[in-house]
């Protein structure tokens, strides 16, 4: 397992994609806070708003790096090299998952650190730091991890660009489907379930108002962990039975 992680992290750090996406992730909050400070000199709170406004886009950035990290392993057939020398498929899946979760964590933390840095420097924060925001940050990490686990599942089971394309649009697809279903059902119970059980809906609760902490935050975190566990178990089961090229 350690060997697979060493191989995976080396491959990650050797790829330009990781750094290019990181520059984008860091560049967006920097540019927005600078832009906000130039055009709205006396307005505060832009940086607070930005703390969770980008969570949907963040999943897209993560999918670019972690999705292609896995897909390229299959497309270049380099996954063979690991299987041939006796690494189990379970370990290979876990190694890919850990590398992907690391990417998600690095991108999310880098985004927040840049935002906090520029926000403080340019005096664009109204509420940060406060307990509510830190709680929402914790929930955001779990939401992002749930998405990342789904990316690893999709890319490992589909093993082609189609899997990557779905990952790229997963947040949009989930949001659209859930909205349509809820609109069709017109049920408050269904709405309550969606709020707790769907990461894309979870983040909408505090996306535009960072100091509102969802009532069921604990349950939401458990659901997100559950998504990670279920997708991982399902992903390993499918991968173990798959015939590779």
């Amino acid at each position: 397992m350690c060997n697979l992680l060493a191989e995976g992290f080396r491959r990650l750090f050797k790829s330009k994609r990781f750094y290019i996406v990181l520059i984008c992730v860091v560049g967006i909050p920097a540019a927005i806070t600078i832009f906000a400070s130039i055009i709205k000199n006396d307005a505060k709170g832009v940086a607070d708003l930005m703390l969770f406004f980008m969570t949907g886009s963040m999943t897209m950035f993560i999918s670019i790096t972690s999705g292609l990290f896995i897909i390229h392993d299959f497309k270049n057939n380099t996954i063979r090299n690991k299987i041939i020398i006796g690494h189990s498929r379970t370990n290979i899946y876990f190694a890919n998952l850990i590398v992907s979760l690391f990417v998600a964590l690095v991108y999310q933390v880098a985004y927040w650190l840049t935002l906090v840095g520029f926000g403080k420097l340019l005096d664009e924060f109204e509420f940060f730091p406060c307990t509510e925001i830190f709680k929402n940050m914790l929930l955001t990490i779990f939401i992002v991890f749930a998405f990342t686990s789904a990316f690893v599942f999709l890319c490992t089971t589909m093993r082609n660009n189609g899997g990557f394309a779905i990952c790229l649009m997963l947040d949009t697809i989930v949001t659209t489907v859930v909205s349509l279903v809820l609109m069709f059902l017109k049920s408050e119970t269904a709405e309550d379930i969606a709020v707790v059980a769907i990461p894309s809906v979870q983040r909408n609760l505090f996306r535009a108002d960072p100091i509102i902490v969802p009532d069921d935050m604990g349950l939401m975190i458990l659901v997100d962990i559950g998504i990670c566990v279920v997708t991982t178990i399902a992903g390993i089961a499918v991968f173990k039975k798959a015939d590779l090229k």
Partner: protein
């Protein structure tokens, strides 16, 4: 005899298609085992199964004496290296970086990487990325990849496909050197039977997902028919003489013929001389691996 790989009644189905049907092979330790078979015969499927890329539908195999159902198989597979069809490389990395990547996956030091690059003739590729390599260079890097970790068993699927004559010679010499100097057992599949005949010490003839015959190179030598290839100025006269001698023969062209029955050269030449038929050349030959294989599978076209 000690065997590195043995399969028993191995079957693989893709939907309704039987890729392997009760396939049984035995690869002896220290051998260069040549798998001979036409397209779709099941050679690559077998290689994919023993390398762990595909799961068998039924049957079993043992690698280094460990059964495929045994959890210790993963340990045994660390002693194996393989190139399956196209080499599996990281296109954005140099040859050296590619091999270091594999040492990381194996958890071993990368001290031997430069020696491996030298062995396969890629020591001077520098920072050139694998995506810019020629087919021959990729193939050789693929072999180097499979040699990381000093394997005792090497599986090469069509290793000379697409190589130029120089590349074929280099790969052939590398394979022979690995077998003779390092004692690595090699399982090799190839369509280029003439090339395989220069390498293999043992053969397995695969047809429609089954091994129809296994034999050593010596056994093949004995089983292959000897014949005399003769070049004359008049094959009609030659045919008359050979008929008179009761020999089995085959006229190939206006000047060439193969004689399968052992004949004494002097009486034959004297008899031909009487009919004003002059002999240009006479050579004794063995039936080629290709001819033997064709005879075995019933004269298939697509080898």
């Amino acid at each position: 005899m000690e065997y590195i790989l043995q399969t028993q009644q191995l079957c693989k189905k893709y939907g309704k298609f039987n890729a392997l049907t009760n396939l049984t092979i035995n690869v002896p330790k220290g051998a260069i085992y040549g798998m001979v078979g036409r397209n779709g015969a099941g050679k690559t499927t077998l290689i994919r199964i023993i390398t762990g890329l595909n799961n068998p539908t039924s049957g079993e195999y043992t690698l280094f004496g460990v059964k495929n159902s045994d959890k210790k198989l993963l340990e045994a597979k660390r002693k194996m290296g393989a190139v399956v069809e196209t080499p599996s490389l990281h296109p954005e990395m140099s040859a050296r970086d590619n091999l270091i990547q594999q040492t990381k996956a194996m958890g071993i030091s990368n001290d031997n990487v430069d020696n491996l690059l030298k062995l396969v003739g890629l020591a001077n590729t520098g920072k050139k990325k694998a995506k810019d390599f020629s087919l021959g260079m990729r193939q050789r890097l693929g072999i180097a990849f499979s040699l990381v970790g000093d394997p005792e068993f090497l599986v090469l699927d069509e290793p000379i496909n697409g190589l130029d004559p120089q590349g074929i010679i280099e790969v052939r010499e590398t394979i022979i050197r690995l077998n003779q100097e390092k004692g690595i057992t090699i399982l090799i599949s190839s369509h280029i039977l003439d090339e395989l005949a220069r390498l293999a010490t043992h053969y397995g003839f695969v047809e429609r997902g089954q091994v129809i015959k296994e034999m050593s190179a010596e056994e093949l030598e004995r089983a292959s028919r000897r014949y005399v290839h003769i070049n004359v100025n008049d094959t009609a006269a030659l045919a008359d003489v050979l008929k008179g001698m009761g020999a089995e023969f085959n006229i190939i062209s206006a000047n060439e013929a193969d004689i399968y029955t052992p004949v004494q050269v002097t009486p034959l030449v004297l008899a031909l001389n009487e009919k004003n038929c002059f002999v240009n050349t006479i050579t004794e030959n063995h039936e080629s691996l290709e001819s033997y294989f064709m005879g075995l599978v019933g004269g298939a076209q697509n080898v």
